[in-house]
Symmetry: C2
Amino acid sequence: MTSIYDIAKQAGVSAATVSRVINNERYVSLKTQEKVQRVLQDTGFIPNANASSLTKKRTNTFAVVVPDLTNPFFTEIIHGIEGQAAARKIAVIVSNTDENIDKERKALRFLTERRVDALIIASAARSGDHIISCLGEDTPIVLLDRQPQGLKADLVRSDDHRGAEILVDYLVGLGHRKIGFIAGKRGISTTKLRLDGYRLALEKYGLECQAELIAQGDFKKEGGREGMLALLALPNPPTSVIASNNLEAIGALSAIREMGLRVPEDLSLVCFDDIELASLVYPFLTVVAQPVRTMGAVAAQLALERLDGKAEQPREVVMQMTLLERRSAGRV
Amino acid sequence: MTSIYDIAKQAGVSAATVSRVINNERYVSLKTQEKVQRVLQDTGFIPNANASSLTKKRTNTFAVVVPDLTNPFFTEIIHGIEGQAAARKIAVIVSNTDENIDKERKALRFLTERRVDALIIASAARSGDHIISCLGEDTPIVLLDRQPQGLKADLVRSDDHRGAEILVDYLVGLGHRKIGFIAGKRGISTTKLRLDGYRLALEKYGLECQAELIAQGDFKKEGGREGMLALLALPNPPTSVIASNNLEAIGALSAIREMGLRVPEDLSLVCFDDIELASLVYPFLTVVAQPVRTMGAVAAQLALERLDGKAEQPREVVMQMTLLERRSAGRV
DNA sequence: TTGTATGCGTTATCAA
DNA sequence: TTGATAACGCATACAA
């Protein structure tokens, strides 16, 4: 491989000077600057960023760890992150954990080996101990959507509590008084917030919060399906159901169809998180949506500021949820 | 930062030995192996992969360059790549070009600085010259979905030609004889193959291929919308339309709605590439789908084999398209 | 089986 | 303003 030494030789200067020109530092005379630039052009030399990061102690790399690369919620966030990062010449390494803590741990270890400058993560884990123990205290961490226990770090999320309230408000407005809920994955902060929001909203309307109306989900299709199956098996099933995310809703939908029922005629179904393309193809599922792209951009922003030392305390950015009314819920 | 030298000191051995233990090479006595391992454990030391790659001349990094991170077609492919890569301890850097050649060029330059081991790319460009001129001849390249001109490299794609034929067969089977076509982005190989397939299939049925029935698209929503608008403005519009990808179909759909028409009652619409989640929410759009996840995995595989020197000539892997019949096309 | 010395491609420090 | 020289953290050829 050709290095700055080769360039230096050709330009009749030292390697240090070449380095200075490449990073356009001051203290290089215009003359030598041009001389070196010419050689750089002629040879088409491209410096080795890895070698550079060895001395600079910056890799200009962000790691993004998500639990489900299948979910547009996360891919859109990645999109947002990538946009900001590319503009700053920062590489984005993507890792998928499949909601699996073991995979997450492996990914973290791996990313630490690469000495990523920052970690942006929607963790699959209940607690954040393993994150710290893998990354150490120094690497900036931005939590995405989920806040593991015992982890003080920047956080970008949406107002899950309020989101649940919005959905309940909406269903109650349609006359529903028996509202089921398919919870998210156990031990995830988002799961708890959405569930709490649901409970409180019911209370607001003087509706009893029956334990049997709450099914366990896992933020995936299959969990949504099973949760819905459980609700439908009830002697007195709900007239409407809230799924804790988009994939659960899809699973729930398939369960409903399996039972020969229709949405919204026989049962209303709403959920957290949009599937934008689906709604463009056919505006069906009523949801509360998060500003995903923006969340990604904000997360990247927070990471950058941490790197620049422009922050002291952990910050929490809470975005608004928006109700997108479509056709999956009906009046009862 | 702590290095293998620190470990060496603590373990009472040389750095070389520590390196050997970490990479578990042979020629290390069990005794010292254990001794070093213990220190490694106790300190929780994690080696610096960047430093390592400097000497090894392998970064264990793949670059994935796609034109549209918004399209599940590409994110699913990324998913497939990531799976293979993670299993081999290879990092995946994702770059989005927005179908913009300039962004692509910048991304390539950037990725070359990182000395990625391989490039997996769905290029936004007509020709592949800039790819070679950025990357050089040595870095393995795997072309995804699209084959820029003048670029000899491995290629993973689906049978676009046959895909078009499948769609035409299907529509003709429904009685359509006036089939419109919204082309893909100009200058992309996929665009041409799909269009050619369409033409040949029409011919097969003795149907005239009218130029006015072919509208220009760009693989994005807006292009699909405009293409469809143009077709609908025809004095004698088609009874069915094929869009060159999923996003174009969505745009086309919105155009159709704007004109107060319905699918499939007033017009049939089918396209290339699925939107899986949409079909799960509501099985609407009839498509020919590609095995996306697999394509990603195969692409990663090809890259790996190139790295291992297990290949000579460029290889071309062509996958089958599958018709997924739903409700967006009707009998005429 | 282990250690020494050197190199990987940059940048930073210090003199000149 | 420029150039030696020594890091950066690790791997490898060679010697022991």
